[in-house]
Amino acid sequence: MFSYKIVLVGNFGVGKTSLIRRFVENSFSEDYLSTIGVSISKKTLQNATIMIWDIEGHTEYKPIFKQYLLGAKGFILVADLLRESTIQELQNHLTLCNEVIQGAPVCIALNKSDCPHDFNEEQMKALFNLSENIVAIEKTSAKEGTQVESLFLQLNKTITESLV
């Protein structure tokens, strides 16, 4: 039985909390509530208990609080398909994560795929070049549940396999 911590990192309003709610409770709310500080959720899978840390979104004035990343076994980086700047920011997030936990596996969720967007497959593949730690990149929709569970499960698989 495994028990570990993962952290969702991304700019504010990209949908980190929504992704977690979808994964943990399989629910969605249109209301936007900014996360203050940190919110923690637990998901129990067949072989592992995952503590999911949902931290305050990164803004221009408030950097991510590094302490919250400590001890994580993996990261899910979240960006908003509708906001180019949030995708640009992924590079910085990757650097930060690798700085705190070297070589920790990372999954990238490009969220809000239910909305019309113009981010193509090629651009998505190009994102893999950002870091060796990236194990998966998916277009997700917390609202519709697209690719949410599979992304979390993929990260779980990578982590648990590395521990065995």
Binding site: M1, K5, I40, K42, M51, Y68, K73
Partner: protein, 543 residues
């Protein structure tokens, strides 16, 4: 437009004119009917405040804080004062055993009574203990009282870690390196005890005391020293952590509190036992004292019934059934007699005889008389003639006795006379000599009175000197009549003498006899009466 302007002017003029009057009226109305006004406004105030709080909460707080803050602090201070007052009253008034016990405990532990009282009034109990991985906030192990199960401890562990991280980082930014120690909520608190790679979050109900913290850090130190490496190496796989051992160790924290209470109780019997022991000891002393007095009485009683010892002062002291005798007595014999007399007293366990034997300086005349008495006695009783001089220190004694044993006996007896410091012995040992003639009538073997007296003298001499030498009986003849007849007579005479010595005198000395046909040497037919005899002598043994 003109009428409009005019209207405004009029109303303005009217307002200006009426204002002082209306104001005056309102003021007057306020003064006269304050109560009426208050009842009218009252319902509005509640609504107004509610609205104000809803819309401008911070303003209200800011406005009220100086007043409220003071009020709260006043209230708290007053409550504390009251509590202290109550506690002090309890300390001063209560003289129950509990109070005394607490006083002693406070002295022994070096803490104030008030603290002890507070401790008595509230109890700290550890409800749950969580061992949490420091960085990831993963719950590694958890023990809790069955009645106080935690709702989702995993979440608590993670949130605690987040809070800890935040606070520690915030404090660190302040320039000091400090850590979050505890979080309080309601009457409970979470104590945080951290090490390198893990920390304990301990949920305590009630107030925690120094001892609680001490125990926690002791247990945690043990845990870290034993399993620190395993915890540090934790990578997410719970199986790599020796959970059972850790839980067993943490379980001691839950038990600790009850053990602490038991320890407190353990002080009871000691405190009660002490006075009981004192009383018992006192009673025991009384009892042994009584026993000793009884024994002392009996000892004195026994001594007073021993006439030999009545003259002397003997100190007796009985303690713990042991008798100590002291004092001075003139003779060793008296000393032993004293001990012997007291030996059989029931209950007496031992006798320590410290009596000194001090010879009593006797009256010199008395000593002289003793000696004279003894020497005279010897003369009468044993026919031993000794002469002596005594100058009150030295006794010079001379004369002769028949053998060594006798001499020894005499000297030993003289030695017993108290007061003679020295004996100068000039007694010679002269062997006993016997030269006696027993004469007989012509043609007769009868022992006449003279002969019998002579024999008795011999017998006495032998007895007195305890002589064992051989008696020699030589029979001589008057040569009147035939030789055979004379021999027959001689044999008969020897037999008579022998018989007399043995039967009348009880003589056991060996007897040797010889019959001669001749006269006694130096005699002839002119003295037949003196020749007809038995010569008795003693064969000298070789010394």
């Amino acid at each position: 437009m003109a009428t409009n302007n005019k209207g405004i002017d009029e109303s303005q003029a009217l307002e200006e004119a009426l204002e002082p009057i209306v104001n005056k009226l309102i003021d007057k109305n306020f003064e006269n009917s304050q109560e009426k006004l208050a009842t009218q406004i009252a319902p509005l105030i509640g609504v107004a405040i509610k609205e104000q709080i809803r819309s401008q909460k911070d303003d209200i707080i800011d406005a009220l804080y100086p007043v409220m803050g003071n009020m709260i602090s006043k209230f708290v201070t007053k409550s504390l004062e009251e509590m202290l007052h109550k506690i002090n009253a309890q300390i001063q008034n209560g003289l129950s055993t509990k109070t005394i016990k607490r006083k002693i405990k406070a002295k022994m532990k070096g803490v104030s009574e008030t603290e002890l009282l507070l401790q008595e009034n509230s109890s700290a109990q550890i409800q749950s203990v969580l061992l949490i991985h420091k960085e990831s906030g993963i719950l590694l192990a958890k023990v809790e009282k069955s009645s106080h199960g935690l709702n989702d401890p995993d979440m608590l562990a993670s949130m605690m870690t987040a809070i800890r991280s935040f606070v520690n980082d915030w404090i660190a930014n302040d320039g000091n390196y400090q850590e979050l120690g505890e979080i309080e909520y309601g009457g409970n608190k979470i104590i945080i005890e951290a090490s390198g790679s893990s920390y304990l979050a301990i949920i305590v109900e009630g107030a925690a005391y120094a001892k609680t913290y001490e125990t926690i850090s002791e247990v945690f130190a043990t845990l870290v020293s034993r399993y620190g490496d395993a915890i540090q190496a934790f990578d997410g796989d719970i199986q790599n952590i020796p959970l059972d051992e850790i839980k067993e160790l943490l379980q001691t924290l839950l038990l600790e509190e009850t053990q602490l209470q038991e320890e407190k109780k353990k002080i009871h019997p000691l405190l009660i036992l002490l006075p009981i022991l004192l009383i018992l000891w006192f009673l025991y002393n009384l009892y042994t004292n009584y026993l000793d007095t009884q024994l002392q009485d009996e000892v004195n009683n026994k001594l007073s019934h021993t006439p030999q010892l009545l003259l002397y002062k003997i100190d007796t002291k009985v303690k713990d059934k042991e008798l100590t005798l002291s004092g001075n007595l003139p003779y060793e014999y008296y000393k032993n007699l004293t001990e012997k007399t007291l030996q059989n007293i029931e209950g007496l366990e031992s006798i320590k005889n410290e009596i000194n034997v001090v010879p009593i300086q006797s009256d010199p005349m008395q000593i002289s008389a003793h000696i004279a008495y003894y020497i005279k006695g010897l003369q009468i009783d044993k026919d031993i003639h000794l002469s002596y001089t005594f100058d009150f220190t030295t006794l010079k004694i001379e004369g002769s006795v028949a053998n060594k044993e006798l001499k020894k006996e005499i000297l030993a007896e003289l030695d017993k006379i108290q007061g003679i410091q020295k004996i100068e012995d000039k007694i010679k040992v002269v062997p006993l000599k016997i030269e006696k003639f027993i004469y007989f009538q012509k043609n007769s073997s009868r022992l006449d009175l003279t002969s019998q007296n002579k024999l008795i003298t011999i017998i006495n001499k032998l007895h007195n000197t305890k002589n064992t030498d051989t008696l020699v009986l030589n029979a001589y003849s008057d040569k009147i009549g035939s030789i055979e007849h004379n021999r027959y007579l001689a044999k008969k005479r020897v037999k008579q003498v022998e018989k007399f010595l043995k039967e009348h005198g009880g003589i056991t000395n060996p007897i040797k006899s010889e019959i001669f046909d001749s006269y006694f040497p130096g005699m002839d037919e002119t003295h037949p009466n003196k020749s007809r005899c038995i010569h008795i002598s003693l064969q000298q043994s070789q010394i």
